[in-house]
């Protein structure tokens, strides 16, 4: 039999048929739904007298457009009537079609890409879609997970299939051991710096090598989360014993014999030795240092030891102008106004543990106008509180918020003010992303925590 990659295997097992126009229908196992990219899809179903084909495949939650304060008063805590209508619309659509929803007042509510894995909804070998580009996160389990547009959301609801064509295989290998203080976030940002934001376009990326195998499941989620920032709709890591142990006993994971059957199948998924990849990159672990972005695209990134580059590239000049930075400035000399720890990239319990360890018995710098930490789900928040992490954050000067996407995309009231500069654990440093004229520097939770104490970037390895 032909040697196949992890992606080839999942593709083969989800291929339904080829339409007579030449496109393929790929079966979708799980569909995550949130309030921002679904209303027009549900409206489309209604207009065409259609219903979701397999309701049990869907889990919905409001996350993008919800406040991270005043949650005790539920919907009344949403001050903006337009935002409120969007959250209510999700409620109504879920009620009408019988879709399970973790509502705003449910302790299981949170960022879709945090709650999927947390609940055991995300399993290896599955196809998972969501109207959100960071769906690539779930690839950490060895699933094929990708972001889709609203028309596709409607199509998946109605048919349980995605119209698609097979993409190319890319392998990114990193062997060796990474230095203490260097995290999955630094690895994924380093890769984007190397291959560029279009480097993975048209491909599914498989991450492999000793460094990747050594990452925790949460680290692998951070890694795959930013595959889309490298242009790839999906990133994945082959499932292993770590994956199976993480999944076992989660509320929605299979139990007993079903679980054993599943594990047996999952073990067959890793890429065959000698399987063909269309493109292969090998990076050295020792080249990966703590990363900080300095521009308005995730590929405009360097290490903490770097200076802002001199360049005649129009895009870089325009980015530096927006960021208020000059070529030659040391990254360590960049002073900050705000700190954001959260987002589907870095809001899980391990992220909060790492950050709180650095903040323990310390206070944030007087320079910092605001520092907020937004747990990825209500359950992450509970766990952190059980471990006393909330007290460490609050004592250090952070605001301890409720779960949601928050300042990663600034749809809710959590935003930067004009020209404010933020060290953020999120995934995009686009213009205006965190607030009109706001300036974003992407970093790991450890680097963000340290920056909050110093008021500027410093090297986590010196700690």
């Amino acid at each position: 039999m032909a040697k196949r990659t992890l992606y080839d295997k999942i593709w083969d097992d989800h291929y339904v048929t080829t339409r007579d126009d030449g496109s393929d229908l790929m079966y979708v196992d799980r569909h995550l739904v949130h309030e921002v990219t679904s209303p027009q899809a549900f409206e489309g179903l209604r207009q065409n007298n259609l219903k979701p084909r397999r309701v049990s495949s869907i889990l919905a939650t409001p996350d993008h457009n919800v406040p991270t304060t005043s949650r005790d008063i539920n919907l009344d805590g949403i001050k903006d009537p337009i935002s409120k209508l969007q959250v209510i619309t999700l409620d109504e659509n879920c009620n009408e079609f019988g879709i399970t929803q973790f509502k705003l007042d449910d302790s299981r509510q949170g960022i879709v890409h945090v709650i999927g894995p947390e609940q055991g909804l995300t399993l290896p070998g599955m196809t998972i879609v969501c109207g959100d580009s960071h769906t690539s996160t779930h690839g950490a389990f060895g699933s094929l997970a990708m972001g889709i547009g609203t028309s596709e959301v409607e199509h998946v609801l109605a048919t349980q299939c995605l119209v698609t064509k097979k993409q190319k295989n890319m392998l990114i290998n990193i062997n060796g051991v990474i230095e203490d203080g260097v995290t999955a976030k630094d690895i994924t940002m380093f890769i984007i710096g190397k291959i560029g934001t279009a480097g993975g376009t048209g491909h599914v990326i498989e991450y492999g090598g000793e460094v990747i195998r050594a990452l925790s499941m949460e680290g692998r989620m951070t890694l795959c989360n930013m595959a889309i920032e490298a242009g790839a709709r999906a990133g994945m890591v082959a499932p292993d014993e770590k994956t199976f142990a993480y999944v076992k006993d989660r509320p929605l994971a299979p139990k007993g014999e079903l679980f054993d059957d599943a594990v047996e199948y999952w073990k067959s998924l890793p890429s065959d030795e000698g399987a063909k990849f269309d493109e292969i990159f090998n990076f050295k672990s020792e080249d990966i240092l703590p990363q900080v972005t300095w521009g308005t695209s995730p590929e405009m990134v360097g290490s903490i030891e770097d200076t802002i580059p001199h360049s005649s590239d129009k895009n870089i000049i325009s980015a530096l102008n927006y960021m208020g930075l000059k070529p030659g400035t040391m990254i360590k000399d960049i002073e900050l106004d705000q700190i954001f720890i959260g987002s589907c990239t870095n809001s899980r319990i391990e992220d909060l543990r790492v950050a709180s360890e650095i903040l323990k018995n310390n206070k944030i710098s007087k320079r910092i106008k605001r520092a907020i930490v937004v747990p990825g789900s209500g359950l992450v928040k509970k766990q952190a509180e059980a471990e006393g992490l909330d007290e460490i954050f609050i004592e250090a000067g952070f605001e301890w918020r409720d779960a949601g996407c928050s300042m990663c995309l600034g749809m809710n009231p959590d935003q930067l003010n004009e020209l404010e500069r933020c060290a953020s654990t999120s995934n995009r440093n686009f213009e205006g992303r965190q607030g009109y004229k706001g300036r974003t520097h992407l970093v790991s939770p450890a680097m963000a925590a340290l920056a909050s104490l110093e008021g500027r970037f410093s090297d986590i390895r010196d700690l």
């Binding site: 229908l25 903006d80 547009g149």
Partner: protein, 214 residues
Amino acid sequence: MAKISNKFSGKIVCLDKANVDTDQIIPKQFLKSIKKTGLGPFLFDSWRYEDEGYLGKDSSKRTLKDDFVLNNKAFSEANVLVAKENFGCGSSREHAVWALKDFGITTIIAASFGDIFFNNCFKNGILAIQISKKNLDIIFSNQSEIKPIEILVDLVNQKIFDEKLFEENFEIESYRKKCLIEGLDEIGYSLKYEKEISKYEQKLRKERSWVIND
């Protein structure tokens, strides 16, 4: 979906930037809308206006930025947007395509596109064409405020050309072409394969029953 003509001409406007992300095409605050329509006035909101926009704001009264190409009167009739590498990267928000469409853009030509955005274009009847760097450079260097370039698109023969400047054959997946030309209802089309989907589901229940959680 509305059909698009097999052959049509369009007036070009060039946006000289690489990696234009969907956050720029339509900023976050407009994603609160539960409709597909009415986003045209907020297309490229932060680049187009001196102030920050919001849903419901009357854009006709806002101050335009002089240096943004879409605000140049010479291109007021433009319906073909030409951009550089990786246009539409980032967020999956289909609102970006809805805004372009509502603004009047029917075709986007670029060196390359973000994957999700590219897909979203065709779902809404917008033709996205990837062309060679050589011809892209020709278009950019001949952009004129006096006489905007008029381009001809022959979708059936997959050809794009200007009478004097260049001619190029472009690639388009057969299914995307068929959808555009016939104005197909994509969901109705897929539902013709209901039997195949049901057969797949039966097999799935047998072989990987742990996937089906109902």
